[in-house]
Amino acid sequence: MKTFLERLTRIDRRWIFLAMGLTVALALLINVKLPMTVSGDVKQAYDLLEKLPEGSPVLFSWDYDPGSMPELYPLSAAMLRHAMRRNLKVVMMGHWVTGTPLIEKQVSEVIRTEYPGKVYGRDYVNLGYKSGQAVLVVTMAKSIADAFPQDYYKNRTDTLELMKQVKSLKDMGAVVSFSAGDPGLIMWIQFAWQRFGVPVTGGCTAVSAPEFSAYLQSGQLVGLMGGMRGAAEYEVLVDHPGAASTGMSAQSLAHFLIVGFILVGNIAFFLTRKKEEK
């Protein structure tokens, strides 16, 4: 018994990695379904888009790269789907250079496939990537065409039907940022909301979710989707389960495993220490 407990306290971490990998893989393969509740923060973000009048322009900013895809890609898909369903006019852009192709991938998967009636230039515009961060946002508040003289497809921005109506950031009904760090949500709060009064919402990686709680509490941020969980909750709200909903069951089982490891490790540690003291 003593040997077993001692072994438990000195277990090679590679066994833990293997157990974690197998748990996640099995959960995905078996497709375990666990119940999901929607939190108030996610509902608040959903309501922001839901209450905008039909035809309102919204800015979607892809501020992440493929490294954060599992958390933010399903969320951006769900929010884009919601905006299209509500007939909002979506202006898309990105602050992260390696994230720009994700906008195109999302346009192709969500808009062109599910909403083929939507016309580019009239219902949605992809401005693509631009560096400049805060300077870019301030320039956009003056003139979007100055900040983005051409869109992702090299069209002149000021010739697009939608951009003739939406000339500045201040014309937007809301800004939605899918944020994996800086530049991202904080920058939009600091400039779009605090300086120009445009409501800001969005999602972030789970790592940065606690940081945004303060902005949520103070009303500077209208709702927040933290990590894969936030994305899964939004998928529930738009009634279109996707990668995040499937992933959350694996997520929950992985958490059970971690809690189990922590409990077993601590029990083994305290029991072996007690015996050594005796």
Binding site: L28, P70, Q194, V207, S218, G227, M228, A254
Partner: protein, 201 residues
């Protein structure tokens, strides 16, 4: 081509995950490929998305109206003097401009967003348990970081309470971090089992 991309992605993913067993040449290869491709992509994207539409095209097609673009253009070119030992002092001009502009923009933004608005959000009536705990937590945590007085008596008790609040915050942050890391694993698993092996339902 898409199948080739998926196979390449899957093999590079396995190379990266091989680090979990131990450091090895396959991991190092994938790491270097990632860094190299990112850097190359960044340079090409900046040139096509920023330099051409925002500087070169306006200067060559509509020069009469946008003289001021010459200034950032010249500033940008001065950056290349970083490679010259004799003239690298010229680099100071673009750097000072970027630092000055960055500081000017971020100081006001930080003050209004993170200091004034957050202070205002803490000045709330203590008419509910939530509000009371929020104000108490802010005060106790501030007391913990107050080092001009010894942490004894009333201040000591406040500092201890502050430590409890900090621990709860760190615990929440750690929980979210674990969630984020597992999400990444789930994403890769969905790619390997779904897009690559096609065994996901």
């Amino acid at each position: 081509m898409a199948v080739f991309g998926i196979w390449l992605g899957a093999l590079l993913t396995l190379c990266i995950y091989s680090f979990l067993y131990k450091d090895n040449p396959l991991y190092k290869f994938a790491e270097h490929v990632y860094v190299g491709i990112s850097a190359g992509y960044f340079v090409a994207a900046e040139f096509h998305n920023v330099v051409l539409p925002n500087l070169w095209n306006p200067l060559t097609t509509n020069f009469a109206h946008k003289y001021y673009l010459i200034i950032p253009g010249v500033m940008g070119l001065l950056v290349f003097f970083a490679f010259s030992r004799k003239h690298n002092w010229l680099l100071r001009f673009p750097i000072s401009m970027v630092v000055g502009m960055g500081a000017g923009l971020s100081v006001t933004a930080f003050l209004s967003t993170d200091v004034l608005a957050q202070t205002q959000a803490t000045l709330i009536p203590m008419n509910s348990l939530n509000n009371f705990l929020l104000v108490l937590g802010v005060l106790a945590t501030l007391v913990y970081f107050f080092f001009s007085a010894e942490h004894k008596g009333f201040i000591g008790a406040g500092a201890k309470l502050g430590v409890w609040y900090l621990m709860i915050a760190f615990g929440a942050a750690f929980g979210y971090t674990v969630m984020a890391r597992i999400s990444l694993l789930i994403g890769r698993m969905q790619f390997l089992l779904g897009d690559w092996l096609h065994i996901l339902k």
